[in-house]
C-alpha cells in the first residue's frame, strides 16, 4: 500500500541521492525505503501546512499520519448526531494562515462559530440565573467580583492585569517572573477565596496551582490584541466572545485538513505509526513505522504532539531540557459527552437559560444552537481533573453518570436526554491530550530549547507556538519548521 511520493523538479535534480538509495535498498531486499526531501510526521494542521509550504518550494515531501484520517485535533464527528466538533472549531478574526489556506483551496468559511445558549449557573447544586448571581446568597465573592459571572472570573482577572503588549513578550527573559502558578498570582492580585475556587472549577488545566500564568497571559494577549473585542463582547466569557467574532468551516472543521491533504495527493500516507527516527546510521534521516515500512529523507519535521512523540525512539536521543520537555510537558484534558434532546424544551419549562456552568463534577453543559436555529443537542465538557475523573469510568458508564447528574441539577431535563457520543482527547488514539499546558516554571525551562532542531529533525505542532493560539498556532508552527528546513536546503 505504499504509494510513491511525488516526484518534483527538485528530486529529479538530486539524481545522486537516488542512486545512493538503490545501493541501500540492495542490502534490504525485503523493505525498500521511500525517499523524499522531507518527511513530515503528523497530518494535523501543523504538519500539513509545513508539507504544503515545502511542496510549494519544489521539495518532495512525505507526510506520515498514524491515524486513518488527517486533521489530528481538528475532528468533525460526522458519525454523531448533529456532527459536532470534537476539537477545533473557531476561526478567530486574525487567523490569517487558516483563512488564506481555506481561500486557496476553495474551502468555504462562514461567520459565527459555535453559538451556544447562555448559561444558567449550578453552584452548590442550586440553579442560579445570571441576573440573580450578583445578589445571590451562594455568591461568596467580594467587591467587584460579585458582578462577574463565575464563568468569566478568570478573564476578569487576566484582562485587567495583563502586562503584555506584544505577541511574543511572553518569550522575553523578563517574562520569567510570570512563570508561576496562576493561583499564586491571583492571590497576589487580591482574589477572594471563593472567586479563586470558581476560577479553579472552570479551568482548562489540572488546577490553578499547576498551570503557568505565563502561558495563559500569552493567550489572553493574543486574544485581546486582535480579537475584535467590542462593546457587544465585553463582560462575556472567552467562549462567548469568540462565538461572536469567529468564523467556521462550512461542513465542519475536518473539511479544511482534508482539502490540504487532497492538495498534497499521495504524499500523505495514512495508518503510518512512526516508531523510530534514525539520524545516526546514514547521512540523512531514516524513519521506521510499526508496519515495517521505512522512509528516508534529508530532513524530518515532527508535527506530533509530545504525547505520541514520547513513543518514538530518536537516535541520537534528545538531551537536556529538550528531552525533559518532550517527556514531561503536561497536556490538558477535554472529555465530552454528546446528547440529543427529546420532548418539550426543558429551558422553556423552567424558564432558565439552557446551558449550564457547574461547580460539580461536570464543567459545562452547553447547548449548541445549530446554524439553522435548531436546539436539540447538548454537549457536556469536562476539562482538567474533572475530565480525568470522568475518564476513570468506562465510556458507557460516563454517559449514564452525566445524564444522572444533569437530571439531578435540573429536573426539567428528566427523561429528555439520549447519549449520542462520547469522546475523550487523552484516551483518543494517536493524540493523548487536547493541548499542551505548561506547568509553572516550564515556560522558562522548555519554551526556547524544545523547538530547537535536533540534528536533522525539526519541531512543529501547536505546543511550539510563538505568537498565535488555536488552529492558527498549529499553522504558524508548521510554517516556522518549513522555513527552517528551507534555509538548510537552499
Amino acid at each position: 500500500m505504499v504509494a510513491p511520493t511525488r516526484t518534483s523538479r527538485r528530486t529529479l535534480l538530486k539524481g545522486a541521492s537516488a542512486a545512493g538509495l538503490i545501493a541501500t535498498a540492495a542490502h534490504r531486499p525485503t523493505r525498500a525505503a521511500e525517499r523524499s526531501d522531507v518527511i513530515v510526521i503528523g497530518g494535523g494542521f501543523s504538519g500539513l501546512n509545513a508539507a504544503i509550504l515545502l511542496a510549494d518550494e519544489g521539495l518532495s515531501v512525505t507526510v506520515l499520519e498514524s491515524n486513518s484520517r488527517v486533521g489530528g485535533r481538528a475532528f468533525t464527528a460526522d458519525h454523531v448526531y448533529g456532527t459536532p466538533e470534537f476539537g477545533a472549531s473557531q476561526i478567530g478574526p486574525y487567523y490569517a494562515r487558516i483563512r488564506d489556506m481555506a481561500q486557496r483551496l476553495g474551502v468555504e468559511l462562514a461567520p459565527g462559530s459555535n453559538i451556544n445558549a447562555p448559561f444558567t449557573f449550578a453552584i452548590g447544586d442550586k440553579l442560579i440565573r445570571r441576573d440573580e448571581w450578583e445578589g445571590h446568597s451562594l455568591n461568596n465573592t467580594v467587591g467587584e467580583e460579585r458582578t462577574v459571572p463565575p464563568s468569566a472570573m478568570q478573564s476578569f482577572y487576566m484582562s485587567r492585569h495583563n502586562p503584555f503588549e506584544g505577541f511574543d513578550d511572553w518569550l522575553e527573559p523578563e517574562a520569567a517572573r510570570f512563570d508561576i502558578p496562576l493561583g499564586n498570582w491571583l492571590l497576589e492580585k487580591g482574589i477572594s477565596r471563593d472567586a479563586l475556587r470558581l476560577v479553579n472549577e472552570g479551568l482548562i488545566a489540572p488546577d490553578v496551582w499547576n498551570v503557568s500564568l505565563l502561558t495563559l497571559m500569552q493567550e489572553a494577549t493574543r486574544a485581546r490584541l486582535m480579537s475584535g473585542e467590542t462593546a457587544d463582547t465585553s463582560g462575556k466569557d472567552r467562549f462567548e466572545q469568540a462565538s461572536l467574532t469567529s468564523a467556521r468551516v462550512v461542513g465542519g472543521t475536518s473539511r479544511l485538513p482534508e482539502a490540504m491533504a487532497a492538495h498534497l495527493g499521495d504524499a500523505v500516507q495514512l495508518n503510518k505509526i512512526v516508531t523510530e527516527i534514525d539520524m545516526e546510521s546514514g547521512s540523512g534521516v531514516a524513519v521506521r513505522c510499526l508496519d515495517g515500512s521505512r522512509y528516508e529523507a534529508d530532513f524530518a519535521i515532527s508535527a506530533l504532539p509530545f504525547g505520541p512523540l514520547r513513543r518514538v525512539s530518536i537516535f541520537p536521543a534528545l538531551a537536556g531540557e529538550q528531552a525533559a520537555a518532550v517527556r514531561h510537558m503536561p497536556y490538558a484534558n477535554n472529555t465530552q459527552v454528546h446528547i440529543r434532546l427529546k420532548g418539550a424544551p426543558y429551558w422553556e419549562q423552567d424558564g432558565m437559560d439552557a446551558s449550564l456552568w457547574t461547580d460539580g463534577p461536570l464543567n459545562l453543559v452547553r447547548q449548541p444552537i445549530g446554524y439553522d436555529g435548531s436546539r436539540d443537542r447538548l454537549v457536556v465538557v469536562c476539562v482538567g481533573k474533572k475530565g480525568e475523573r470522568l475518564d476513570q469510568l468506562a465510556p458507557a458508564d460516563r454517559g449514564e453518570f452525566v445524564i444522572r447528574e444533569i437530571e439531578r441539577l435540573r429536573p426539567s431535563t428528566k427523561g429528555k436526554m439520549e447519549v449520542t457520543g462520547v469522546h475523550s482527547w487523552p484516551q483518543y488514539d494517536f493524540v493523548s491530550g487536547c493541548r499542551h499546558s505548561y506547568g509553572p516554571g516550564q515556560v522558562t525551562r522548555f519554551a526556547h530549547d524544545m523547538i530547537k532542531p535536533h540534528h536533522r529533525l525539526h519541531f512543529a505542532g501547536e505546543h511550539t507556538r510563538r505568537m498565535e493560539i488555536g488552529m492558527e498556532s498549529a499553522m504558524e508552527s508548521g510554517e516556522r519548521a518549513a522555513f527552517e528546513v528551507l534555509e538548510r536546503t537552499a
Binding site: 505509526i273 510499526l290 481533573k385 475523573r389 488514539d429
Partner: protein, 492 residues
C-alpha cells in the same frame, strides 16, 4: 440514589470516636447523597488498599474503601477465557512473598504451583533461531562474552552479576545515588555491547532504557537475588531469574489473582464502593473528608491513598502537596504492559525450531507459552512492555489483534492460520490509572524516593510506588501494611 446516612460498617470504636470529627461537617444541599463515616477512608481497592483495610479492621478500626473502577483488584485482573482463568496483571507469587502468602492462607484462598516453563526460541535480526542454536547463530551479534546468553536472559545476566547494591535496603542510601542514572548508561558502564542494550530493551519493564533509573531496577533485581539466593544457572535463567524448576516455590492463585483480592474485600465488614472516583480530599486538624464524583461524602479520622500517582494527581487534595512530594505525584512516570492472549489449533513449534515460546526484537516483543502443571502448552501470551506497548496502543484494539497475529505469522510462518486472539489487555488503556506500574526515571530516586510516601497531614500514602524493599504484588501489600501501621500509631 439515596444511601444510608450512617454506614453499618461503623464499629463501636469509630461510632464513639468519629462524632467529634464529623459533626462539624455541613451537609449543604447534598442530603440526597451518601454521607458515611469511619475511622479510615481508603482510596483504591487494589492489593495495597485492601491489605491496609484488613490490617486496620483486625485492630478494631472501621474503614470505608472507595474504588474508581467497576471491579476489585486494581492491577490484579483475571479474565475468564475459554482456556481458563487468565491474569492480565499480578500473577507470580515469589517464594518470599510473605504477606501475600499469609493473607491467602488466612482467607483460605488456595494457591497452585507456578507451571513449568518451556523453552523460548528467538527471532532476532530477521532470523528464527532455536534456544539451542543461539550461541552459534549468525543472528547473534552480541559481543564474545555475551554470546552464550539467551536474549531473554541478558537483562538478568547483566543486572544481577554486576549488581553493586550490598543489600536491598541500601537503594535509598546517599552513597548509592550515583547509580541513579539511566539503565543504558549503567549497562554501558559494566561493559554491555550496543546489541545487548538493544535486546535488553525488549524485556525490560520501563518506558525505555535511556529513561528508566538503573538504581530502581537494581533494587528490584537485588530483591529477587536475595529472596531466592540464586547463584546457579544465571546465564540461562529467563527474565526473573528463577522458576519452580530451580526448586524454589513459586505459586499462583487458583482461579486467578483477582480471586485473592475479592476474598480480601469479602473479608471486610462492609462492601467496597465500586464505580466511585474520588474528587476531593479535605484534610483538617481533626479529620478528613473525602468527596466522590457522584456527590457523596465520606468522613474519617484518617485517609489512605492506595492509588497510583497517575490517579492521585487528579484528586484535589487540600492543603495541597508541597515541594518534592508534589512533583513526584504530578510527574512520576509509569510503565505500560500490553498483553494479547491467544489460543492455537496445533503445536506449530514442532514444524520449525521446536521452542513453543518466542523472544523477538520486533514490535510484538515476546510470546510466552502457557503450560499446564504437566508442562503441556495450552495457550500463548504476547507480552509487550514499555515504549513498544504505548506504540501498539495507538492502534484501535481490533487492529492490535490483527497486527500481532499477522506479525507472528510473518516471523514464524508455522503459526499461520493456527492462532486466534481471545483477549487484548493494555494497562495504559484498560485501567483508571493508565499504567501497569510506577517507574522511576533516571535521577528521580535521588529527587523523590525519600518523600513520596511521607504522610501528608492526615492522608497516608500507600501503593506500590511507595515500596521500600519488596516487588510485585508483595510491594503493594507491604505499602498498605505500612500505611495502616502509621495510622494505628497515631490513633492510640
Amino acid at each position: 440514589m439515596t444511601k444510608k446516612l450512617i454506614s453499618p460498617t461503623l464499629s463501636r470504636r469509630s461510632f464513639t470516636g468519629a462524632l467529634g470529627g464529623t459533626a462539624a461537617l455541613p451537609l449543604l444541599g447534598r442530603k440526597a447523597f451518601a454521607y458515611e463515616s469511619a475511622d479510615v477512608i481508603i482510596i483504591g481497592a487494589g492489593l495495597a488498599g485492601l491489605n491496609a483495610a484488613l490490617n486496620l479492621e483486625m485492630e478494631g478500626y472501621s474503614v470505608i474503601v472507595l474504588e474508581a473502577q467497576n471491579y476489585i483488584g486494581g492491577r490484579t485482573r483475571t479474565y475468564d477465557l475459554p482456556v481458563g482463568p487468565t491474569n492480565a496483571g499480578g500473577q507470580t507469587i515469589g517464594p518470599y512473598y510473605a504477606r501475600i502468602r499469609d493473607v491467602a492462607s488466612r482467607l483460605g484462598v488456595p494457591l497452585i504451583s507456578n507451571p513449568p516453563r518451556v523453552s523460548m526460541g528467538n527471532y532476532v535480526n530477521g532470523q528464527l533461531v532455536s534456544a539451542a542454536d543461539w550461541a552459534t547463530s549468525d543472528a547473534n551479534k552480541l559481543a564474545e562474552a555475551e554470546k552464550s546468553v539467551l536474549p531473554s536472559a541478558l537483562e538478568f545476566f547483566y543486572l544481577s552479576r554486576t549488581n553493586p547494591l550490598p543489600d536491598v535496603e541500601s537503594w535509598i542510601e546517599p552513597d548509592q545515588q550515583h547509580l541513579d542514572v539511566s539503565i543504558s548508561e549503567y549497562l554501558r558502564s559494566v561493559g554491555a555491547s550496543e546489541e545487548a542494550l538493544r535486546l535488553i530493551g525488549v524485556t525490560i519493564n520501563v518506558f525505555d532504557l535511556s529513561v528508566g533509573s538503573a538504581l530502581a531496577y537494581l533494587r528490584d533485581i537485588k530483591r529477587l537475588q536475595w529472596g531466592i539466593a540464586t547463584n546457579a544457572n544465571e546465564e540461562t535463567r529467563s527474565t526473573y531469574g528463577a522458576s519452580s524448576d530451580d526448586g524454589f516455590e513459586f505459586n499462583e492463585v487458583e482461579g486467578g489473582t483477582q480471586r485473592l483480592c475479592e476474598a480480601m474485600a469479602a473479608a471486610l465488614n462492609g462492601p467496597v464502593h465500586l464505580n466511585t472516583p474520588v474528587r476531593m480530599i479535605d484534610l483538617s486538624d481533626d479529620g478528613v473528608e473525602v468527596r466522590t464524583n457522584d456527590g457523596s461524602r465520606y468522613a474519617g479520622k484518617f485517609a489512605i491513598s492506595a492509588v497510583p500517582f497517575s490517579a492521585l494527581r487528579n484528586i484535589d487534595v487540600t492543603p495541597r502537596f508541597q515541594g518534592r512530594q508534589s512533583d513526584a505525584i504530578k510527574y512520576s512516570s509509569h510503565g505500560n504492559t500490553l498483553r494479547v492472549f491467544m489460543e492455537f489449533s496445533s503445536p506449530f513449534w514442532d514444524d520449525d525450531i521446536g521452542d513453543p515460546a518466542l523472544y523477538t526484537d520486533t514490535a510484538i516483543e515476546r510470546v510466552f507459552a502457557r503450560t499446564t502443571e504437566e508442562g503441556e502448552v495450552f495457550a500463548l501470551d504476547c507480552w509487550v512492555n514499555g515504549n513498544a506497548a504505548y506504540r501498539l496502543d495507538q492502534m484501535p484494539e481490533e487492529y492490535v489483534s490483527a497486527f500481532v497475529v499477522d506479525k507472528l505469522a510473518r516471523i514464524r510462518p508455522s503459526t499461520k492460520g493456527k492462532v486466534n486472539v481471545m483477549q487484548v489487555h493494555s494497562w495504559a488503556k484498560h485501567s483508571a490509572s493508565g499504567a501497569c506500574r510506577h517507574a522511576f526515571d533516571a535521577g528521580q530516586v535521588s529527587q523523590w524516593a525519600d518523600v513520596m510516601g511521607t504522610p501528608h497531614h492526615r492522608l497516608h500514602i500507600a501503593g506500590e510506588q511507595t515500596r521500600s524493599i519488596e516487588n510485585g504484588m508483595e510491594a503493594a501489600a507491604e505499602s498498605g501494611e505500612r500505611a495502616a501501621f502509621e495510622i494505628m500509631e497515631r490513633m492510640v
